[in-house]
Amino acid sequence: MNSLVLLNGSPRGERSNSMKMLKRVAEGWVRGGGAQPEVLHLVRRAQFQRAVEAFAGADVVLLGMPLYTDAMPALVKAYIEALAPRVEAARAGSANPALAFLVQSGFPEAAHSRPLERYLEKLALRLGSPYAGTIVRGGGESLQAIPEQANRKLWARLGALGEQLARNGRFGAAELKAVAGTERLSRFGVTIASVACRLPVFQFYWNGTLKKNGAWERRFAAPYGSAFEK
């Protein structure tokens, strides 16, 4: 039975959207015949350290993260820097685990995450690791707002990807494409979104929270310069 170390790179830890998705991939992995994974949250200092130590001994490492300012969160980059000795080790002939990734973002389109995906694929090459693929998924922040039930299709796809990882050692291309959803807005999509963004209802998630926090009146605050007006 292959071993899996599942690393949650979200600074939000256990309750993150990344972890919600990783959990479904892990369930699929077990269904596909993989061993119960060791789950580590990089935001916890002791678990970060354990994740550095556990790396070389795993058959597969699945590292999930949210997109932060168009790249990996600083926390994940710190982890990757801690793996530098494994680059040397690989050159000296020591094997590194297969690497699989999950990148989720708040943007509806997958295109925002593709440059990070490219980086991660190159990272696997740098470590001499077989590259098992990257799950890219947009619209992540809405997971906080909508009921579990509404995500059934997404959970099923993530589970199927986990099964593929256990059975074939990599994610399947068709399932990766399906889970990514909208890659880019179509010309029609741009028109619709341009109109929708001007409607208060489209920003309901933010507006609701702003109001609840009593911050609605200050939502356009610009403490460090002159405010954008439009």
């Binding site: 990996m72 969160p73 980059k77 925002h112 807005l185 933010w206 702003l210 605050a221 460090y224």
Partner: protein, 183 residues
């Protein structure tokens, strides 16, 4: 021209640090107002995705740390130079820690820009972005290109664009002169 440099090199004794010192002095000698921020010297707690800077204390990070210093210096500049050695094929975790907390400079609302969904501006002006990467024997041209692409997208989300980038291979003073011609 007002130039803010965010230095993401954690090691003050490194050759990259020395290179950046030379570059900074050259820019000052040419009459530019330069603010150089050594991120390693600041207390930056790092973004934890709490979104309080969007929904609770709009425009301000709720953590009590030095991210306000970074944000103010970024907005006060015409040109923002992100400076970092290449490490594991990208800029350092330290530079990223500084950048992650910059989401307080934009607004949560979505807008459509260039055919993509992006965040709305919070401020009337943002600096033009530039990127200085410390050469590293383990980084190749593809690593540099991937790094530039990611920071280029970050610049777009900061209502700006990446106007210039270089690797510390050339003479630091010549690189400084080239940079000064950008904005």
């Amino acid at each position: 021209m007002r130039i803010t440099i965010l230095n993401g090199e954690p090691d003050a004794a490194s050759s990259f640090h020395a290179y950046l010192e030379t570059l900074t002095h050259r820019l000052l000698a040419s009459g530019h107002a330069v603010t150089k921020i050594d991120l390693a010297a600041l207390d930056l707690k790092g973004c934890t995705g709490c979104f309080n800077c969007w929904v609770k204390t709009p425009g301000e990070c709720a953590k009590r740390d030095d991210s306000a210093t970074v944000c103010r210096a970024v907005l006060d500049a015409d040109l923002l130079l992100l400076a970092s050695p290449m490490s594991m094929g990208f800029t350092t975790a330290l530079l990223k820690r500084g950048a992650d907390q910059m989401i307080q400079l934009i607004h949560p609302y979505f807008v459509v820009e260039g055919g993509e969904i992006h965040h709305r501006a919070r401020y009337a002006h943002y600096p033009v972005f530039a990127l200085l990467l410390g050469a590293d024997p383990d980084s190749d041209a593809e690593d540099v290109e991937i790094t530039r692409t990611m920071w280029g997208r970050m610049a777009r989300n900061m209502k700006s664009h990446l106007a210039w980038s270089a690797v510390t291979e050339g003479n630091a003073e010549e690189v400084a002169d080239e940079l000064a011609r950008v904005a």
